[in-house]
């Protein structure tokens, strides 16, 4: 890897802790961010010549803090940066200070940063945008591209989120146990939303990094909360879903159903990590929605071929999930398992009451259409597929349904 590649990686990894510590010093998100940017610019100048510091995070915190405190930033537009020796020869001071200043705060700094981004006053779309900007360090342009909005609109969304937080008077003390659990759930939800933004975008290259970023944040959260089974479950769920990435689309970008995917293209490393985390979670005997969903994904991940899938296990897990958090979408998913186990008629019966609540849901009509198709009720199937296409969220979804329609139209099918 090139020098710049290494530096980029080190800065990205250091970012949550460094920005979190700078936020603690300055109690102002913009100042913390600017201080960090300053430190990064100096790192890009200094590290290639001096080699990497022993502790890049501590280096960035110290240099960022000093730069801001000295007011160097204000003058730096007109004056030269101080000589490199002064900022890069931190030596022992760097590691010692960093340890004293930040060792005990590490967990709280990163948590505060995540908690602020998931402040209850913010809408989910603001939470995600802010987390990507502040914690992950994606550029506004990158985030705007991923959310298919203009850069100006995304800039405004982030600015508004920051203003709300400034007004909300966020406490800088570590939250108490009850509040921590509540906020932790909000952070987990934000991370999973972020993942789904990337996952549902299909094969759109500009949105794919969202999944990787969500997994990175989940690993970060997991290091802070090593004994939380739901955080393990969340990480496992995303890893298991992400393992199928390169098998999910064909050369034309069309979605390939789970049953038809080439399982040799699944990423075994991600599957193993997901299964290992799920194993850890299950030992706690405190099941939750992320663990259940991860367990469902794990059944797919373990099946060597589609017809070896343990559909009875999947159906049982969806039933547990349905009881935990009743939702027509979960029932619809259970119907897919029921169709595999007991045939499409049983599935149709199960989803009959769902038409109204899911009348705007692409997958409802896609699924019902294919149950009807299996029963040879082609005319009704076609009507459902037409509705599904009208409700499709991505071109890949629509193309997939059109595929069904094409088969219906083929002369061999007896309509």
């Amino acid at each position: 890897m090139s020098d710049l590649g290494w530096i980029h990686g080190a800065i990205t990894a250091a970012r949550p802790q460094a920005v979190g510590a700078l936020l603690r010093y300055f109690r102002d998100m913009d100042r913390a961010e600017e201080a960090f940017q300053d430190a990064c610019q100096r790192a890009l100048k200094s590290w290639p010549q001096k080699g990497p510091p022993r502790d890049p995070t501590a280096w960035l915190i110290l240099v960022g803090r000093n730069a801001a405190l000295d007011g160097v930033r204000k003058q730096s537009r007109t004056t030269e940066l101080p000589p490199d020796e002064q900022i890069s020869d931190l030596g022992d001071a760097e590691s010692e200070l960093a340890e004293r200043l930040d060792g005990s705060h590490y967990r709280d700094d990163v948590l505060r940063l995540l908690f602020i981004c998931c402040h209850p006053d913010l809408q989910p779309s603001q939470q995600i945008a802010l987390a990507l900007r502040i914690v992950s360090g994606l550029s506004v342009a990158q985030i705007a591209r991923a959310f298919l909005v203009s850069e100006a609109a995304m800039e405004q969304r982030i600015t508004r989120a920051k203003q709300r937080i400034a007004k909300a008077d966020v406490p800088f003390e570590a939250p108490g146990a009850a509040e921590r659990a509540e906020r932790l759930a909000a952070v987990a939800a934000m991370i999973y939303l972020l993942f789904n933004e990337g996952y549902s975008a299909g094969n759109d290259a500009s949105r794919a990094p969202l999944c990787d970023e969500a997994i990175r944040l989940a690993r970060l959260l997991l290091r802070l909360f090593q004994t939380e089974p739901e955080i393990m479950g969340l990480a496992a769920l995303m890893l298991l879903q992400q393992s199928r990435l390169s098998a999910r689309f064909d050369a034309n970008g069309e979605a390939i159903l789970l049953d038809d995917q080439d399982r040799s293209r699944w990423d075994g490393k991600l599957i193993n990590e997901g299964l290992a985390l799920l194993d850890k979670a299950v030992r706690h005997n405190r099941p939750g929605p992320y663990q259940i969903q991860a367990a469902i994904a794990a059944i797919h991940g373990r099946a060597a071929s589609a017809h070896e899938t343990d559909w009875a296990g999947i159906e049982a897990l969806y039933l547990v999930l349905e009881r935990m958090q009743p939702s027509p979408v979960i029932t619809l998913n259970r119907a897919v398992a029921i169709a595999k186990l007991h045939g499409p008629e049983a599935a149709l019966e199960l989803i009959a009451p769902l038409e109204q609540p899911l009348s705007g849901y692409f997958h409802f009509f896609g699924a019902r259409g294919s149950f009807l198709l299996q029963l040879g009720r082609n005319k009704e199937a076609r009507a459902d597929f037409d509705r599904a296409i009208a409700l499709a969220n991505t071109p890949a979804e629509a193309a997939h349904i059109r595929h069904h329609l094409d088969r219906l139209m083929a002369p061999s099918s007896n309509a």
Binding site: M1, G5, G9, A10, T12, A13, D212, R216, R219, L220, L222, R223, Q226, T227, M232, A235, K269, N272, E273, L275, A276, L277, D279, K280, R283
Partner: protein
């Protein structure tokens, strides 16, 4: 003489590498690996999953989520075991811990395992001391 070579790095950096970056490092390493295989010098080698997937046993009774995090003890040895799942791995580890209760055992899944590549790999334990 048999040696083990242990690799250390910041896992949050390494596990944030893109697939391309990871592949690039692995490709460079595999040049070295292949040479060692040709020279008959490479025994089993492996890459571990991140410490977030680890579980630690302190004495046979105390199971802790997460990696071994103390700095006072040193790494003294390791096993590779082939078992069904974490529960089975912990069962094995508890037996080891019962036999040697002052040691702590970290159980960490393996991401990549390359078996012994030596031409006449020994089938029996080699006593080296």
């Amino acid at each position: 003489m048999l040696y083990t070579v242990l690799c250390y790095n910041k896992e949050d950096v390494v596990w944030s590498w893109s697939k391309e970056e990871d592949d690039a490092v692995m490709a460079k390493l595999s040049v070295v690996h292949e040479r060692l295989v040709k020279e008959g010098k490479l025994g089993p080698s492996l890459r571990l999953l991140p410490t977030t997937a680890a579980t630690t046993l302190r004495g046979p009774g105390l199971v802790i989520d997460g990696p071994f995090a103390e700095t006072k003890e040193q790494l003294l040895g390791f096993y590779v075991i082939d078992v069904e799942n974490l529960d089975a791995a912990l069962a094995v580890t508890k037996d080891l811990s019962a036999a040697n209760p002052t040691s702590t055992y970290e159980v960490r899944p393996i991401a990549l395992y390359v078996p012994d590549a030596r031409p006449n790999a020994p089938k029996e334990a080699i006593k080296v001391y």
